[in-house]
C-alpha cells in the first residue's frame, strides 16, 4: 500500500519570504500522480498543484512550484513571496494511475508572520 509522509507538522515564514514544505511517499508503481492541497480554516480543500510522475519537468503555478525527485520519492512544495492568505494546512497526496483513490499525508500547518 502507498504511504505519504509529511515530517513537518508546523512551519512558519515571514511574509514575502520563501518556504518549502516536504513530502515523501512510498510506492512500487512507476506511473502515478502527486498533489498538494491547501485547507484554510474554512475547511474547503483546494488544489494547489499537481504533478504527473512520467513528466520530468517540475510543475509550477504562479508562486507555487514543486521539486519532484522520483528516485528519492520526494515531492516538496515551494511557496515564493508568501502572503497572509497562504496560511493554511497543506496536504500532500498520492494517486495511482489506475485508481482514483487519494492517499493523504498528515499535513503541515503553515503560519505566515506579518
Amino acid at each position: 500500500a502507498q504511504t505519504v509522509t509529511q515530517s513537518q507538522p508546523e512551519m512558519s515564514v515571514q511574509e514575502a519570504e520563501t518556504v518549502t514544505l516536504s513530502c515523501t511517499y512510498d510506492t512500487s508503481e512507476s506511473d502515478y500522480y502527486l498533489f498538494w492541497y491547501k485547507q484554510p480554516p474554512s475547511r474547503q480543500m483546494i488544489l494547489v498543484i499537481r504533478q504527473e510522475a512520467y513528466k520530468q519537468q517540475n510543475a509550477t503555478e504562479n508562486r507555487f512550484s514543486v521539486n519532484f525527485q522520483k528516485a528519492a520519492k520526494s515531492f516538496s512544495l515551494k511557496i515564493s513571496d508568501s502572503q497572509l492568505g497562504d496560511a493554511a494546512m497543506y496536504f500532500c497526496a498520492y494517486r495511482s494511475k489506475g485508481n482514483e483513490k487519494l492517499t493523504f499525508g498528515t499535513g503541515t500547518r503553515l503560519t505566515i508572520i506579518p
Binding site: 474554512s42 480543500m45 488544489l47 485508481n99 482514483e100 493523504f104 499525508g105 499535513g107
Partner: protein, 114 residues
Amino acid sequence: EAGVAQSPRYKIIEKRQSVAFWCNPISGHATLYWYQQILGQGPKLLIQFQNNGVVDDSQLPKDRFSAERLKGVDSTLKIQPAKLEDSAVYLCASSLGPWGETQYFGPGTRLLVL
C-alpha cells in the same frame, strides 16, 4: 460554475443516535467521493461512486455507515448508530471521471458525537 455543496455544515449528536450528510457534486461530475478527516490527520477515503455504482468501499465501516447515490447525482452518507470515534469532518469530493481528473472538495460537515 458552482462547487461541491454539502449540508449540514455542523452537527452535534449523542452517541448511538443516527445522522445523515448530504452532498451535491459539481454538475456533470460522474465520480463522487466521501472522505473522513479526523482532527490532526489527512482525509481518508470512505467510499467512491462512479455514477450510481460503488467503486471502492473497502474502508467504510459497513456495520454502521451506509451511503447511496441515487440517479448518479446527489449522495447521502449515514451513520447509525454513531460512536464517539466518529467525530470528524466528513468531506465530499467529485471529479469528472475515472481518467485522472482532479478531485474538487466541498466545505465539509463537522460532526461531534457526545
